[in-house]
């Protein structure tokens, strides 16, 4: 299917055949296109990794920054120009490992950005080391005797930080993933969509088959029930899919910030006022 976000050229996609990233790419394109968002108003912000290459395959603006540092850049971009649709997208190592501190504090800010994490439970680009979400016992060239650390639970952590939108999706299920992404993008405030993504090259444990067996969609859940959401998030087998929590009331970073309290004109559209500066200087006389 063609979308307005397709890169017209015959582009060479650097992912492995069969990788879960392809589904995420096409699902996200379709989601944005169906939401009628103009590609020129979108900025995709990513870090470094296999997942983080995704903006390369989009016809849109992008800021492909440093490993682990997508969120601060995305927050700032949205802050100076709230009229943009900002998506911060990277891998699990990038967002929860190197970028862990930004993950925490961005959630505290609640900027109106969508945070999509391709969670393949492994470091793909650097060839197969454990990521924060790797499961116990996972063997790698570094973790030769298997991972001994507690896997990072992004949903539970996000909830404990009072994230305003928290969801888990599964890459291969494009239909449901699209529904989740649609709601995430529409959500006003920070939204986390952790997408389980099979890595066919380096994760021979958490395969397509594994996910089929070990995931399940949430049923009959009131997404505004945080206590219950936490309960569901802590569940690890099966991993629950769907929107686990949403708080539509929470004010965003941009609307709360003093700069936008009285005036909503995007910062970059406001013009320099030499009189005000002169007045401040005068106060030092």
């Amino acid at each position: 299917m063609n979308t307005s976000f397709d890169v017209s050229d015959d582009i060479d996609i650097a992912w492995c055949p069969g990788c879960g990233n392809f589904s995420i790419l096409s699902t996200l394109k379709k989601t944005l296109a169906d939401l009628n968002i103009k590609s020129r108003q979108v900025v995709m912000v990513s870090g470094i990794g296999q997942a983080a290459k995704i903006p390369q395959y989009f016809k849109t603006n992008y800021f492909n920054g440093l490993h682990g540092r997508a969120l601060p850049a995305a927050t700032a971009i949205k802050a100076v120009n709230p009229s943009l649709t900002v998506i911060a997208e990277s891998g699990d190592g990038d967002m929860y490992g190197e970028g862990g501190n930004h993950f925490i504090h961005t959630i505290r800010r609640n900027p109106d950005i969508t945070n999509i994490v391709h969670n393949n439970m492994v470091y793909g680009l650097t060839k197969g080391q454990a990521s924060p979400t790797s499961q116990r016992g996972f063997n790698t060239p570094v973790q030769v005797d298997g991972v001994i650390l507690e896997p990072f639970n992004p949903l539970a952590v996000a909830l404990s930080l009072d994230a305003s939108f928290v969801a888990r999706a599964y890459a291969a299920d494009q239909k449901q993933t699209k529904t989740i992404l649609t709601k995430a993008i529409q959500h006003e405030g920070y939204s986390l969509v952790d997408i389980l993504q099979p890595c066919v090259s380096f994760n021979k444990v958490n395969t397509y088959e594994w996910y089929k067996k070990h995931t399940e969609y949430i049923k009959d859940h009131n997404v505004s029930d945080k206590q219950k959401a936490l309960h569901l998030a802590l569940q690890t087998d099966p991993l629950l899919l769907g929107i686990i929590y949403q708080n539509k009331e929470k004010q965003t970073f941009e609307t709360m910030h003093p700069i936008y309290e009285r005036e909503q004109t995007p910062l970059i559209k406001r013009s320099y006022n030499s009189e005000v500066v002169k007045q401040i200087i005068k106060s030092y006389h």
């Binding site: 440093l66 100076v80 700069i259």
Partner: protein, 574 residues
Amino acid sequence: MRSENQDISIIIAGEAGQGIQSVEQLFVTLLHHMNYYVFSTKEYMSRVRGGSNSTEIRASLLPVNSFVDRIDILIILDEKAFDHVSHRVTDDTIIIGDDRMVSNISHPHVFSFDFTGSAKKIGNLVYANTIAIGLLASLFHISSKELQEHITSFFSSKSKQIIDDNIQAMHKGISFAQTLISSIQIPEKIKNDLNNTNSLLLLNGTQAIGLGALAGGVNFISSYPMSPSTGVLTFLASNGKKTNVFVEQAEDEIAAINMAVGAWYAGARALVTTSGGGFALMGEGLSLAAMTETPIVVHIAQRPGPATGLPTRTEQGDLQLALHTGHGEFPRLIYAPGTLQEGFFLTKRSFDLADRYQIPVILLSDQYFVDSKYQTSSFLDLDKKPTHHIVKTTEHYKRYENNISGVSPRGIPGYGSGYVCVDSDEHDEAGRITENSDVRKQMVEKRLRKMQQIRKQSIPPTLYGSAQYETLLIGWGSTVHTIEEARKQMDKEKISFLHFSQVYPLHPKTKTYLKKANRIITIENNATAQFDQVLLEETGISADAHILQFTGHPFSVETLLQKIPETIQALEEE
């Protein structure tokens, strides 16, 4: 007190939290309004209460702007204070303090008053500060009426009770002063004429940089608190709403610089303020700005390292870090303002040149610079709006168009019909990842090519003294006034002083200046003569000797008056 001085140096010494800062603020503005030239600087410990801090206030009939060791009047606010500054006390010093605090000092000119008792009687220990101000003001020929007006306006936001108590304290101070007046010769204030100090601004380095940033069109600052750089953040926070500056305290320095790069990408003019340790975390972010050719301005207020070092003190130890940090190779520009004018104009200029050349610009100040206050002429030429070098994109816009200058027209997302794609990986003109080695080579050359134009925009060093010199003193950044005050006093000896406010790249004239000298001495507030290395790299010439100080304190005029001749002599004997 030595009477030959046209200026008086007052030191107020006491614990953190005792109110030295408000004495300084109140008294310095008072002197300013009363047409004295003033200078003040503080040294303080890395703690909130207790310890030993001091502030120097110089008042003069001629402009003053540098630190001296000399103490004409010493005001002592706690028991430990005298020991803290005693190495600077001479027989001419006049020492004033509470009975309890000066009783053990054996010195010809100790004057004790019952500051504490009187303050308590008025109702609060803090009034001791106002008593001291009353006392000092009297000595400076300031009438009680003038003083009262000043105090009233200073405390105007407080309750009537507080204002009244302060005035009562002030009178107490004035009465204390009577016993002193005969012992102290204070020059009378400047007669009111066109040259009076009221036409001048009174501000410190932090404020000069903050105002320069505003004039440079800053509208975003993301930073993490770190002494002595935090002042710039709080300055913009307090002025931010009326000037449209988006202020954000980041969770760490890495977030700070990545936010700033993001903000510039989206069209803002962003600043980051930090100190050496914070900056040491920003190397990767700086490299990102360079690779994506996104402008960035970083202010580093230096303090002594390594590591946490001396958090509240001064040093010029991070020049080589500023010059070389960030992996990979890319152009950059480093300013090190010395005067307040430079603080203002170079900050403003940082934004202009960062924007114009899409490069990192680093402003290198230090604790001494940011915390020193004096008068300077008003900042002019403020009507011109800062030029934003941003283009409206067209449909086939390429962010990294490879042109002769190396500076590709910069678009921002959402403005125009193109896409703005920037990449941390090596990329082609459109901003997409490439591993093509020809494109790689072209892109490296494109980025480095900008350096040619940046060099052309270099600020030349300022020569103080005659163009005919034998000895050339070289300084950079915050030491300008101190070196110059010392040099002036040695004027006859064919010594000139060359000051650099742009420390990289150096203006081509530099070499000419260096070649003319028989001997070159760099004076630096560090241990390894870092600027001399820049001189060598940029001109092939290096200094014959260095005067270095790395105690955490700024040079004093006296130290230089001693070290400069010593160093010249040592060179002659070689």
